[in-house]
Point group: C2
């Protein structure tokens, strides 16, 4: 039994309950007849997917674009975020007349499995106990996220996507879509990503997880039932990760060694430098909208991602005979997912005989460039989708 | 009143008391008549410096080499470490017949002010209260460390150093020596360092400090008097910092995505990947030998370091008319102190008309290369010191 409802908007409420009744979102509920089979060898049932859509599905159902969000993103691509009140995370690229044009395409963005904005995750209620899942929630993978998304498309009656697009962890999902469901993807835009997480990236994630688990308020993950919230650990995790999203040059341009509101050092441990108060703000604001256990699960999913490993260690086999047009995009100053990772994708796609184009965009903005004002990115995405749209027969 | 004594070796004892009675070390005590003037505008008195020496000072007192240690280093350059039982941190480079040859030179390595291995720092006893200083200890700078070292040389009756050498924070001290006491330094070896800490490096340090301060056992720095030890926070700080000491390539070579003691993922939050258990080990072993408050103070000193700022913003003025021969060394894969930082030092030295040589060593070992088996480094250090030794008239 599957049903979709729009949840009522609420004027207030704890962040965590967004997990059950996400505001400004649609919900697809999958009952006992539709379990989600997980790579961990267990199935998740019942579960729900919270998602948002923008634009209109055409009569032929051929103009759907799936947008996949990154680690700390969610379904609120465009429009006011119900928790933060801020704009959507991809307003730069998605909207009327924008490269991912809501006047031409029907955009769907689901919150991924394991997250905390309405799709089932560790802060959702475990029906067996009536309590939040916490660490009893099964460890999920990028492939599990994509498998759930495919079930959402079935539910929506969309056989084939015009395009799937995303950056970072979203790009990993795009690549997994190309591998798992090539016949359902006409065009794909994996941005600032890789087919597997490097040892350095696993290491950074592990530090973040250890920061959360070191917080006594984490309580073995049972903070929601036992009371508490590991906000200090989660803030430290966010601060560390945030550095990896920017480039040294971007930090230097933004902050240099400028002191905060004064001309000289205070000779103290206050936030003396602007970059320190910026980071502290990043940490503090993050914990207001994100769940610590979800952070553990989603970083783990990224760590486990290794597309070639599922195909005998040969990456090109993941894309064998793919009919999908793929445009790979990287940024010169992205040291989390450097261009060499994108080149490896392109080489595998070439070896598989795929229709692939590749752009390395020169910018000093680092990994987060995919979220920022980056005109060359906009031009490339628009051009790629226009071309694919003509091939697909879209007006 | 100044006195030097060898402290008795003890078979056991809490790490923190190493702060008062360091084993295997000499101590120089500076009384009320010899205060250490600090950049923060206060003076530290009394204070002590724990140090080790290797080799023999010649009759002319012209063969002294000052070795400056890095953030988490100490005076135990060579020989068994009294706390860890491990070898000294620069056994690769210092010893009989080695590039910094203990048969030719008299090597002195003091523990820096603010540290925790016997030189006065936040875990030392504040004579006014009879309790550890904790955060009442004044914030110190690289220049303060060097000023204290100059007092140690006065105490030892050494007017002029044959050489001063160090990597990372040790390299910062070397540069400060060249600026503060050019007439006392015949040759200098700043390795893998910079004349100022970048915004990115400040950011990484700030995450480490926040991890420590987020640990409830830190107790506003008063963990020694109030009971407790912020080992979890300090371990997280160490884990994060440790990633920056290595290169992505080195991590990949060492660990890749190899699983720990098994062939497949566990689908859990155990240390699944070898790089995770390696990092956890780094964190756990670090807290056994290092003090959390010292970590705050020494990272702060590095953040504040900005040599040009003390000379009207013109770096070359820091080296004006310097008689010192300087050999600057960087490593290609060091992203904490990239070669561009060393080039800036070289340009300033050139502008100042200094005798400077520069070597960028090709290695994938990252920042920590200065501590590792790196034959090209050994050859360059040996060659530079040999040449300087001939000019100095050393046998």
């Amino acid at each position: 039994m599957v049903e979709a409802t729009t949840s009522p908007s609420r004027s207030a409420g704890r962040r965590v309950r967004e997990a059950d009744e996400p505001r400004e979102s649609l919900i697809a509920r999958f009952g006992a007849d539709k379990p989600l089979q997980l790579d961990a060898g267990v199935s998740l049932s019942p579960f729900q997917i919270a998602y948002r859509t923008y634009g209109t599905l055409n009569a032929a159902r051929t103009n759907a674009v799936l947008v996949c969000h990154a680690l700390t993103g969610d379904q609120h691509v465009v429009g006011r975020h119900p928790v933060t009140g801020k704009q959507g995370w991809w307003e730069t690229l998605v909207g009327p007349g924008k490269p991912i044009d809501t006047e031409r395409y029907f955009i769907i963005c689901p919150n991924v499995v394991g997250a905390c904005m309405g799709t089932t995750g560790p802060s959702s209620i475990n029906p067996k106990t009536g309590q939040p899942w916490a660490l009893d929630f099964p460890v999920i993978t990028i492939r599990d996220m994509v498998r759930a998304q495919a079930m959402l498309l079935d539910h929506l009656g969309i056989d084939s996507l015009f395009a799937v697009a995303g950056g970072s962890m979203g790009g990993m999902q795009v690549l997994q879509w190309c591998a798992s469901y090539p016949q359902r993807v006409f065009a794909a835009l994996p941005i600032a990503c890789a087919t597997r997480h490097s040892a350095q990236n696993i290491a950074f994630h592990e530090v973040g997880r250890q920061a959360i688990m070191a917080d006594p308020e984490w309580k073995g993950g049972r903070y929601e039932t036992e009371g508490g919230n590991p906000t200090r650990g989660l803030a430290v995790a966010r601060m560390g990760a945030h550095i990896t999203y920017l480039s040294d040059a971007a930090l230097h341009r933004k902050f240099g060694r400028k002191f905060q509101d004064r001309a000289n050092p205070t000779f103290s441990f206050d936030a003396d430098f602007e970059v320190e108060s910026y980071l502290r703000h990043q940490g503090i604001s993050f914990v207001e909208r994100f769940d610590a256990n979800s952070y553990l699960y989603l970083t783990r999913a990224m760590d486990y991602f290794d597309l070639a490993a599922d195909y005998g260690g040969v990456l090109s086999n993941a894309f064998k005979d793919t009919p999908t047009r793929i445009c790979v995009i990287s940024f010169t100053s992205d040291w989390l997912f450097p261009t060499s990772e994108s080149r490896a994708i392109v080489h595998a796609l070439n070896a598989a005989g795929a229709r692939v184009s590749f752009a390395e965009i020169v910018t000093d903005k680092g990994h987060d460039a995919f979220l920022l004002e980056e005109p060359e990115l906009f031009g490339i995405v628009r051009g790629f989708l226009d071309g694919a749209g003509r091939a697909r027969g879209l007006a």
